[in-house]
Symmetry: C2
Subunit: 165 residues, 2 copies
DNA sequence: TATTGTTATACTCTATAACTATA
DNA sequence: TATAGTTATAGAGTATAACAATA
């Protein structure tokens, strides 16, 4: 990794493509989080492009399955998805027969969600495949690294640290 | 239904927003990276909404400033920005007088970028403000935590973990 | 009036691909 | 033919705001 010594006074000293320096940007947590997240998602989808669900869809379906009787908006809030976008995601999942909307009589403004049998099946399938893809995309980390990374991310969010995964 | 801590004074809500369970999702590196990144960006922009540049624009300008004579496409690749999007970003920055395009005579297909004086000024201002915002958004981390987090993110990416790249 | 969800618009960014102008 | 950049389109997702139905 050569440091590309370019004249600091030369206004147009060419820099080779692989010598672009990030400077201290790689010391920024926000920048590094973004680059790492984009890279990991990239790796997951380039490793296996024919997944039946997008990652966001899988997340929604999984949480719906784990929280029967939860309102649509409550799930959206927890997953930091905008309500307006949640409407589109749920509509798409409903059209594919993976989730059902249910308006409870005690509060007819709200919408409860629950998985269909097909939804349960797809989520179970995705769980298995994503576990492997997730691990593969972060294969550079050993078990301790991974646990430590998760602990730090939880700490940023103010979430209680995960037991173990 | 999962245990929902609802007192008798609460309005009837089977699963309140803060009682939605994530299950083992918070043990997924890809999920936690996404949630953490969205949260950090959220905090940065809710802390100070009147920033002169979007984060992506600042990143591009900063790297242009650190790499005089670098091609537009080389910078886009390094920052994992698509060329087609890079064209729009640079055009916007150029219209605002922050960056200049320069077509070198030795290869008239390529475009070199360099900051204008106004661009340099804006970047310097943003650097200062973002350093503080970045730290504020991750204030739950102490110095050791932050260094460790950066080390782990670098490791995922396969980047050298030292100070600068 | 406040809350829940929907619709709509604008904007950011990705994914593709076609296109130009060079090389 | 290949490369560098541009343009265009489709899609995901965010940011906002207006809106309807319900509480």
């Amino acid at each position: 990794m050569t440091a590309a010594p370019q004249g600091s006074d030369d206004p147009v000293a060419p820099v080779p493509a692989d010598a672009v320096a990030l400077g201290d940007l790689d010391g920024s947590v926000s920048f590094m989080l973004r680059i790492a997240q984009v890279t990991v998602y990239d790796r997951i989808f380039s490793a296996e492009a024919d997944l039946p669900l997008k990652l966001g869809e899988h997340t929604v379906l999984k949480v719906v399955g784990d929280n029967p009787g939860a309102r649509q908006g409550a799930i959206a809030d927890k997953l930091m998805i905008k309500w307006s976008h949640m409407t589109k995601v749920v509509s798409g999942l409903e059209e594919r027969g993976l989730v059902e909307r249910y308006v409870p009589p005690q509060d007819r403004r709200s919408v409860f969600l629950r998985l269909t049998d097909a939804g349960r099946h797809v989520v179970a399938d995705m769980n298995l495949r994503l576990d492997a893809l997730d691990a593969g995309a972060t294969a550079a980390l050993d078990a301790d690294d991974r646990a430590e990374l998760l602990r730090l991310l939880h700490k940023i969010l103010g979430w209680p640290s995960a037991t173990s995964s």
